[in-house]
């Protein structure tokens, strides 16, 4: 029983990473219509950012948790302004290719500097122990990551549903052209939304550094699964992406326990099943984007 629960916990923790990444992908796709393949690379940059900050400058985890996403926000804003924006009017495939190429460039730049082996990153001292969760002990850091992921998703959800900015983002996601015709300068929100998604990926990367291998390919391994999560949740549906993120983490983790042979493919089997049942994903809307 406690083994089962512990495995559930593991699943929710990795689901938290799925959810944070899928959330950023979903808002970026919704607002820009861009499938951001580089999202995994931004995640990796976040983790490497934390590593470099500590190894080279002695910046502790807690400071990196704020500074690295802030830097990635700037990076995302510059990227959107200089490259992404120019390709948005054309076939979405162009931006997909651009971000795919960007992924390779970023990975190789990091590889050149730090090689392919994984870099160690210590847990912050405050969270190095474990917590007694009643039925079992669990690493305090993992509990922190899960809580942070849930709170971040909740905060984004509140921003989206309760603020004027969120209302504009929802409107622009649903009907970009009409929203402009109603007097909303949709273009002004595009850069911050993209940068926000990038920063969120970076934040997930910083959170991952103390518990996952920090190496140039850590994002590439993850992003394929995150794409499956976004498709399952419904392309462009923020709520669906977050829910699917946690659910897939859970299912995958239990799958590891009970059907280890399927551990790598389970997520894609689920995706195929969901698509057969609901082609737009669990929370996607059927009509195509206009």
């Amino acid at each position: 029983m406690s083994g089962f629960l512990q495995q559930c916990f593991n699943g929710l923790v990795s689901g938290g990473f799925y959810a944070l990444l899928a959330l950023g992908l979903a808002v970026i796709f919704g607002m820009l219509g861009v499938v951001n393949f580089a999202h995994g690379a931004f995640f990796m940059l976040g983790a490497f950012g934390a590593y470099v900050a500590l190894a080279e400058f002695g910046v502790p985890f807690w400071a990196a948790l704020v500074a690295v996403p802030a830097l990635l926000f700037l990076f995302g804003a510059v990227l959107e302004r200089t490259l992404i924006r120019r390709l948005v009017p054309f076939d979405p495939l162009y931006n997909f290719l651009l971000t795919f190429g960007l992924t390779l460039v970023l990975q190789d730049l990091v590889k050149r500097e730090y090689g392919v082996q994984s870099q160690p990153y210590p847990r912050p001292a405050e969270l190095s122990g474990s917590l007694d969760l009643g039925l079992f002990d669990y690493p305090a850091y993992q509990v922190f990551v899960l809580a942070a992921a849930v709170l971040l998703c909740l905060a984004v959800w509140l921003i989206l549903t309760r603020t004027r900015v969120g209302m504009v983002v929802r409107a622009a996601t649903e009907r970009p052209e009409l929203t402009r015709a109603l007097g909303v300068n949709v273009g002004r929100w595009v850069t911050p939304v993209f940068a926000f998604g990038v920063a969120l990926a970076g934040l997930a990367g910083v959170l991952a550094a103390p518990m996952r291998a920090v190496n140039p390919l850590m994002g590439a391994d993850l992003i394929i699964a995150v794409f499956a999560v976004v498709v399952i949740g419904g392309l462009g549906s923020v709520f669906g992406s977050v829910l699917a993120g946690f659910a897939i983490g859970l299912v995958q983790s239990l799958g590891n326990l009970y059907v280890p042979a399927l551990s790598q493919t389970l997520i894609f089997i689920i995706m195929a099943g969901v698509l057969l049942w609901r082609p737009a994903g669990l929370f996607g809307r059927e009509e195509a984007r206009t």
């Binding site: 209302m167 929802r170 409107a171 649903e174 052209e177 015709a181 109603l182 300068n185």
Partner: protein
């Protein structure tokens, strides 16, 4: 208020507006009538800045560069758009649908005034926009541009599919805002209704304005025009 000169528009190779000239004076209600596919919707989309493939000059209140501005700037200059599909957002509540457009005119309707005029919108203000009935969505689309205080309304068949009672209510509202000096360019297939609210009418055929009529002329030729429009 609004002047359109030499407007041409295309979808791909197909030209759907040809050399359209149109002027609407401040405080006037002018309709566009024409068969399906005549180009009425396209004309409004050109004025709103939503149709890229168009040439010609569009001016608003002496702003001759109006036609070169992006859509959101045009809206902010006091133009309210009621699109032919109502444009109600499913991901916004009824109240958010009302509050989305920024205030663009000197005399916007307050939310209480909107709710007083459309009590059903107050009742359903927390519902998703598309949970309203078709008629209620039309009311919402109109209420939304009134709330923004727009001085020129571009309304694409706002009475389509409404019960006679609701059509009458829309008529009352149009007369009320006209009295307040709001200008309306209205696409309307219901000729009888059109003559009760509007000052002048333009008949659009194959992308051209072929006739301009006043209310007397429309009433005198109602049967002929209805037969032409195929209604």
């Amino acid at each position: 208020m609004l002047t359109v000169e030499g407007l041409n528009a295309w979808y791909g190779e197909a030209q759907v507006l040809r050399d359209v000239d149109l002027a609407v004076a401040e405080g006037e209600i002018v309709t566009l009538v024409g068969r399906n596919g005549a180009g009425k919707t396209t004309l409004l989309r050109c004025v709103m800045g939503l149709h890229e493939r168009c040439t010609g000059r569009i001016g608003l209140r002496g702003d001759t560069a109006f036609g070169t501005r992006p859509a959101h700037r045009r809206a902010r200059l006091g133009v309210g758009y009621v699109p032919d599909d109502r444009g109600i957002y499913a991901t916004l509540s009824v109240e958010e649908n009302l509050l989305l457009p920024p205030v663009v005119g000197p005399d916007p309707w307050s939310l209480p005034r909107v709710y007083e005029t459309f009590p059903v919108l107050r009742e359903r203000r927390r519902f998703a926009g598309t949970q309203l009935s078709g008629g209620e969505q039309q009311m919402l689309a109109l209420a939304r541009v009134l709330r923004s205080g727009a001085r020129l309304l571009l309304c694409d068949e706002p009475t389509e599919g409404l019960s006679p009672l609701l059509v009458e209510q829309i008529g009352e509202i149009l007369r009320e805002i006209k009295a307040a000096g709001v200008t309306v360019l209205l696409i309307e297939q219901n000729l009888h209704f059109a003559t009760t609210v509007a000052d002048r009418h333009h008949l659009l055929a194959e992308g051209r304005i072929v006739e301009s009529l006043d209310n007397g002329a429309v009433r005198a030729r109602e049967h002929e025009l209805l037969a032409y429009l195929g209604i």
